[in-house]
Subunit: 197 residues, 2 copies
């Protein structure tokens, strides 16, 4: 296969890209070989070599333990359980949370063959015991799989006696009632709070 076709084929298999956008990207890269393509190869090679998975929480970063686990400014009595590194990044961008994390790496899913024993729940239990964790916050997606997983993790944590909470459901900030789905409206109605707070 020609180097051009081979690169297009490799790119087209990535998420967010199809054959059309892969072709467009390849043309862009080859036109800017020195200013875009070579620096990208360099950055990719460096990331492939240097990025590590944190053995404590599962986060990705330049070191193990990761920057978050090593940060003395973090509240070590809190562990926020997320499905994926992308969710951790989303929470970090929002600057609302200053504790530690535990990445599950997936949710229970019969379809994708993820069983309870595939999730690092034992590890989470150990961390809870050794860290003297006060609260576990389950920040899982509001999908069927996410909520089933949250339920399972909460059940496993129950005997340890740690406080377990989960993210509130409700209106997204800036959201309009008219365009919200029934499930969210029902959840927001059930979880209504006294006005004026």
């Amino acid at each position: 296969m020609s180097p051009l076709d081979s690169l297009i084929k490799h790119l087209a298999k990535l998420p967010c890209l199809g054959p059309r956008s892969a072709r467009r990207m390849v043309l862009h890269l080859l036109k800017k070989r020195d200013t875009v393509m070579l620096p990208l190869i360099e950055a990719m090679t460096r990331a492939a070599r240097e990025v590590k998975t944190c053995s404590a929480c599962g986060n990705l970063g330049g070191s193990d333990p990761c920057e978050i686990c090593r940060d003395p400014g973090r509240d070590r009595s809190l562990i926020c359980v997320v499905e994926d590194v992308a969710d951790l990044w989303a929470l970090e961008r929002s600057h609302v949370y200053r504790g530690l994390y535990q990445i599950l790496g997936g949710t229970l899913s019969a379809l994708e063959g993820v069983r309870p024993e595939d999730l690092p729940v034992e590890k989470l239990l150990e961390r809870v015991k050794s860290n003297k964790t006060k609260e576990i916050i389950l920040a899982l997606n509001a999908t069927v799989e996410g909520q089933a997983t949250a339920h399972y993790v909460a059940e496993r944590l129950a005997p340890v006696g740690v406080a377990v909470s989960k993210l509130a459901h409700g209106l997204p900030v800036g959201g309009e009632l008219e365009y919200l789905d029934d499930g969210t409206l029902a959840a927001a109605m059930q979880a209504r709070r006294k006005a004026g707070r």
Copy 2:
């Protein structure tokens, strides 16, 4: 900057990608380091090293002259003028054309500072003379810039006495009248042909 942030930054600058899709892509790459990321780096390095610009027509490929210019099965009396390599690829995928190409590398544009002398029209004139070209097909985009460029190239070719044609305007195959813009409808109406052909 951490290797992770650096890679995200480099990817987010590419066409078709923004910060969100760049992050998603980086997570995918790092999860499949051996099966996806390293082969992609390899394919990219090979393309950066081996892909050449054809000195005859401007096409990209593994050799100079390119595969099309070297193909003895091509009709060397036809040159199809396109703006970009992506347009050449589109024509090649459609299998409707078996002649040679000339890539302009841009269209006349006051906004982007592309002047007539920036287009390889002299080169095209030389090729017409030395190749004994019979017909030049202007396959430029149906945009204002594309059509202005087609007009300019046709004017420059007029003294040489070669036949110059351009792609027909009209209904896209499978297109519905109701959803077509007025310009296309007017062009299709003007260029109407006797039915039953």
